[in-house]
Amino acid sequence: MEVLNDLQNDVLTETFNLGMGAAASALSQMVEEEVKLSVPELLFMSKSEAAETIASQTVKNVTGVSQDFNGSVGGQALLLFPSHKSLELVRLLLKDAVPMDQLTEFEEEALSEIGNIILNSGLASLAHMFGEEIKTGLPVFIQGTTTEIFHENTEELNETEIILFLRVDFHVEKYSIDGYITIILDVRSVQILKHNIDRYLKRVGIC
């Protein structure tokens, strides 16, 4: 799905990369370990395509964090990991001595905090580029198949919604874990997003 031209796409990717840089720095401080985050890929797609893309690249069960946001653009942002990878990530960051079979209550909380830092940083860099405020809600821990998660989270939205899909590379120590940020936007928000990217390009003198 081509929503942005190459230049607009590059600007948006870089904006999110700046956000991920800030998130990585906050996380590194918290866990006293170098954490690196980057966005190698940014795409627009439908919700069913997003569910299929994640399911095709990973096992069907995903774990993550969801956050509502509103401002000049509004929607829902989700950070998703394959369930077994989320366990790996939390354990790397918390340095758990006794690994359990599944996430414990406090590991779920820790993942919520990690997701909150990453999603807030991504949305804050977007808000910064727009020069406008984007307010975020509290993070909610989610778990299920990609279809369940996208169905549940998009049930009330109309057919015209679009997913801004970002692949996120998470590096801790020598490990690399792939996650996904999916931002569910309606058509109006996509138009505002394009408009704001163009406005930013003009402001910095590129267009």
Binding site: A26, Q29, M30, V31, Q67, G71, L93, L94, A97, V98, M100, T104, E105, F106, E107, E109, A110, S112, E113, I114, N116, I117, N120, L123, A124, A127, E133, I134, K135, T136, G137, L138, P139
Partner: protein, 387 residues
């Protein structure tokens, strides 16, 4: 303040007596709400901290992650969550009933807007100490269970390796002893005094028995440690039964009993490990021969039951005592455990037979009434086409 109505008063009361910590700050970090729970757990009365900057009053909170997220909430409208695991309980809170016990905290921070568009920050502190204790306990128990399991596995491995090693080391000299005794018997048997001949016969028989026991121990260790591979081949069931009967004929004759094949299906092909199943049959037939009364006969039968074949061996001996039925397939298990038992055997034969049959995805069992003999059967899947 004159417009305060009943619901506002109720809300104020609710916030005051909420069972979680509630703090509201203005843009200058001044504390506007500090509820009863915060008073009880921080030991700071509301009238002392209200309208004071949170970071001036509790300087240790300044400059950390808590201030960062409060700033983001006040200036950018962003909500945040601080988990007790990653954010390490920033507020200096203690349990009022146990003043040395720190309160473990999960904290939510949200921007709060009023009609006047003034930005406030709402901080909600949840006491998760009991849940943290439960999780620590759970981790301790899991760690102990993992340690115990690992130790048990190591001990079992060591035991198994030790038994296999000792048995192997015993077999070589015992074979040599048996060979020598055999030579003495064969070459000098008639020249020796009768009492020496008798002693040599006892030594020979018992050495044979010891070697059989060592072989059985090595077999069972190999089978139970998963060290055996089945060598599948396709063979005719009748040929298999005849071979088993022939192999045990000599023993049966010595026991003064005979074998009788009472029932068998039309040509049936089995796909299995011929040699290993012969070992099972040897065990069932020799057991039956041991228990069959003198001059009696052992009934051997085979039937096709759907996609399986059932081979049964029935004796007319004393039968299996009720209390022994549950442990008959256990290692070193014999109905007569006394040192003076009449029937000789290692007590491993049925355990080995069970392991071999189960490796074939088959089943072994028995039917027995005390005083009326025992019928042992094995059921094996017919893996290949049958005629």
């Amino acid at each position: 303040m004159s417009n305060i109505n009943e619901s506002t008063l109720m809300l104020c009361d609710l916030v005051k007596h909420c069972v979680n910590g509630i703090i509201v700050l203005d843009k200058q970090y001044n504390v506007l709400i500090w509820n009863q729970w915060m008073e009880d757990h921080s030991n700071i009365p509301a009238d002392k901290i209200l309208n004071q900057s949170l970071f001036d009053y509790i300087p240790q909170l300044a400059g950390g992650r808590l201030q960062q997220v409060i700033d983001n909430s006040l200036s950018k409208g962003m909500s945040a969550f601080l988990s007790q695991t990653l954010s390490k309980n920033p507020f200096p809170l203690k349990n009022p009933r146990s003043p040395f016990e720190e309160i473990k905290q999960s904290i939510s921070i949200k921007p709060l807007n009023t009609d006047h568009e003034e930005n406030y920050c709402y901080i909600h502190i949840n006491d998760v100490s009991p849940a943290v204790k439960r999780e620590h306990r759970l981790r301790e128990l899991t760690a102990n269970a993992q340690f115990e399991q690992k130790t048990a596995e190591e001990v079992a491995d060591m035991k198994s390796n030790f038994v296999a090693m000792v048995s192997h080391e015993l077999r070589t000299p015992m074979t040599s002893v048996l060979g020598s005794l055999g030579l003495v018997k064969g070459l000098l048997g008639n020249e020796l005094p009768e009492n020496v001949q008798s002693l040599i016969n006892i030594a020979h028989t018992n050495t044979e028995r010891l070697i059989a026991l060592i072989n059985d121990i090595l077999d069972i260790e190999k089978i139970t440690s998963g060290g055996i591979e089945l060598n599948y081949e396709t063979f005719d069931l009748m040929l298999f039964l005849n071979e088993a009967i022939n192999a045990n004929m000599g023993y049966a004759e010595r026991q003064k009993v005979s074998f009788k094949l009472t029932e068998f299906p039309q040509t049936t092909l089995l796909s299995a490990d011929f040699a290993k199943l012969q070992q099972v049959m040897n065990n069932l037939l020799s057991n039956a021969a041991k228990h069959e009364p003198k001059e009696g006969f052992i009934e051997i039968s085979a039937q096709r039951i759907q996609e399986k074949v059932r081979i049964s061996v029935k004796d007319h001996g004393p039968g299996i005592p009720e209390k022994f039925k549950n442990e008959i397939f256990d290692k070193f298990s014999q109905a007569d455990n006394s040192s003076t038992r009449n029937i000789k055997g290692t007590g491993l034969g049925l355990a080995i037979a069970k392991a071999i049959v189960e490796k074939h995805e088959g089943e072994i069992g028995f039917i027995s009434t005390l005083g009326e003999g025992a019928k042992f059967y094995i059921e094996l899947p017919l893996n290949l086409s049958t005629q």
